[in-house]
Amino acid sequence: MSAALLIEQALNGLQFGVMLFLMAAGLTLIFGVMGLINLAHGSLYMVGAFACAAVATATGSFWLGLVASLVAAALAGAIMEIVVIRRLYRRDHLDQVLATFALILMFSEGTRWLFGSFPLYLDVPEILSGAVALPGGVQYPLYRLAIIVAGIGVAILLFLLIGRTRLGIQIRAGEADREMIAALGVDIKLLYTAVFALGAALAGFAGGLVGTIQSVQVGMGEPVLILAFVVIVIGGIGSIKGAFIGALLVGITDTLGRFLLPVFFGAFMNASDATAVGSALASMLIYILMALVLVVRPGGLYGAGT
């Protein structure tokens, strides 16, 4: 095993983590501020990817597609909040899960009705295609580097937004005490819609960005959604910082686990068994990580409960 391979895998883990962060940030914001479990967050990711693919194909510009993914997901999120989600804040979590699960089905079949059952085409823009040589003899796809940069950029913007702006103060206040902030004259309904649209836009952005190197198809959001939930549980629900650290932890653990565990078992087993045992264990690794974190810190790494 060479150093170049290890560096490449670490970068892969980082890129996967950054992508998970974009999903988890929206989810944790919505859960933190409104106390709402939104299973349909993965559908917003899908909306972003489809919007990006459709606009990129129609105009020939990936960048317009990316803008479209932000706009379409934010819009879908805002409409979803006003029409359905608003009625769920006072209900218990089971009702929210049921209603947002119904939304998943509607989004999926609606998308299929609009775009058909076949996966859409979406390719990396010319300027970001191919691989670049990094120090240490590592060949790395340029587009994945771009995802890392974009994700970290979004993370910095989010921190500034939450920590330094008026909207950020209102969001944090809403998390702490929603009656009090309403009493202080903040339009809580508008705030909730804005936060929901922001979270949706982040998911849509992730969809557009990642749809480019994955398959743009109905149901693409659900596998990512499960990982995003793992991330926010590890990071502590409601904490952007926790989501960021949790996402990187999950991304790196998953990638390195998939790669190193079969090698590890290969040291004292025959190759075929080592592959089978290693891959089986690798797929459990992030859940084991989650369990360990919860044992040590039941509220998650940066959760309010600890």
Binding site: L5, P119, P141, R144, Q214, V218, S279, A282
Partner: protein
């Protein structure tokens, strides 16, 4: 639940001979029409319905239902079709796990099952049944052909990967049954995995001279796009499932030049195939996929048997099916003793025709291939 009941309109009665056997037959089609796997079921259904429409036979009624790619739903639908719709023949299932849930119970109740796609090894070996026919292949076939091709093309150090589930394991063992070179690596990925950066890095580091991968549906699209971006240029080989007509357009130019094994291609040169491709395009406005061709052949086989025998006479109908007296779009077609096809399997290359990516046959990987389980089937 969606339910589409299609009764076929009578097209002019052809000859008195067909009328003589005319007796309404009810076919139950359970297939995947919603969710991520819908494109496969839709193609199989469209191929099946096209064959019935083209035949002008108005005595076949087809009840179509969506299994949502869920075994429990498929089982409920099969019960409903057998008990309340009173179907004589079942067909349509795409996924092997659904087939395992439905087929044994259906044939045990005396129904015929004609498979348009799924053909797990369990149903080819000891679990075979006189009323079960696979028209597509036996699951291992295309992987075996890929192994045979890799060996013949002189690959010595292959890297192989498949998802960690039964069909993935069958795939790699099918490949290894005919490939006897070294393995640079063998990986089982997670089912539904969308990011293959870690695997691609290992392929790059392994020094393999070729890569065999079985990643059906969206998994294959993601893998090939990421592979093209990674700068690794080790040649790829795979079964047709990742190079299906609908998938290719989503992968784009990243798939150009990739070799894949299939038992059908739109450029197989025979009259039946030409007529099929032409009428499919005219009817649906898109090119057929392998699944469309399986659906089409399944319906034609069934119609050929119905011309010879009534489905109510099970033994005679089974004999008529075994004769496989129809014009397959694959050219020659016959059944092995365990009711799975004996057929040629080709190597195709992904090419561009105008703006459309499609496949072209470049070699024959296996001639008159049956399957590895013929001896295990006692019928």
């Amino acid at each position: 639940m969606k339910m589409i009941k299609s009764t076929l309109a009578a097209v002019a009665m052809l000859a008195a001979t067909t009328a003589a056997y005319a007796e309404p037959v009810k076919v139950g089609m359970i297939t995947t029409l919603s969710g991520g796997g819908a494109s496969l079921g839709i193609d199989a259904r469209d191929g099946f319905m096209l064959a019935i429409k083209n035949s002008g036979n108005s005595d076949v009624e087809v009840v179509i239902e969506d299994d949502q790619q869920k075994p429990d739903v498929a089982v409920q639908l099969a019960d409903k079709m057998i008990q309340s719709d009173k179907v004589d023949i079942l067909t349509g299932i795409i996924w092997s796990n659904l087939a395992m849930a439905v087929v044994p119970a259906a044939v045990a109740q005396g129904k015929f099952y004609l498979s348009v796609n799924a053909a797990p090894s369990q149903l080819a070996g000891p679990g075979c049944d006189a009323h079960y026919f696979s028209i597509s292949y036996q699951n291992d076939n295309l992987h075996e052909a890929a192994g045979a091709y890799a060996k013949e093309a002189g690959y010595k150090n292959m890297f192989i990967l498949a998802p960690n589930y039964p069909a993935g394991k069958d795939s790699l063992s099918g490949f290894k049954r005919f490939y006897d070179g070294e393995l640079a690596g063998e990986i089982y990925t997670q089912l539904g995995q969308t990011d293959y950066a870690a695997e691609i890095a290992q392929i790059r580091a392994s020094g393999a001279d070729g890569v065999f991968f079985f990643l059906p549906g969206g998994m294959g699209i993601a893998f090939m796009k990421q592979y093209a971006q990674s700068g690794v240029d080790t040649p790829l080989i795979g079964p047709a499932f990742s190079f299906d007509q609908n998938i290719l357009q989503a992968v784009g130019d990243a798939a150009l030049g990739v070799k894949n094994t299939a038992n059908w291609s739109k450029d197989i040169d025979n009259e039946a195939n030409k007529a099929f491709v032409e009428s499919y395009q005219a009817e649906y406005g898109r090119l057929p996929s392998v699944y469309s061709s399986y659906g089409y052949d399944t319906a034609n086989l069934m119609l050929s048997a119905l011309d010879k025998a009534s489905v109510s006479d099970a033994d005679a109908f089974q004999k008529a099916l075994e004769e496989a007296d129809f014009d397959s779009v694959r050219g020659k077609f016959s059944f092995a003793s365990n009711h799975h096809p004996i057929q040629d399997i080709y190597v195709r290359e992904v090419v561009k025709e105008g703006d459309i990516l499609t496949n072209k046959i470049v070699a024959t990987a296996m001639t008159d291939r049956d399957n590895a389980y013929v001896g295990d089937c006692k019928m």
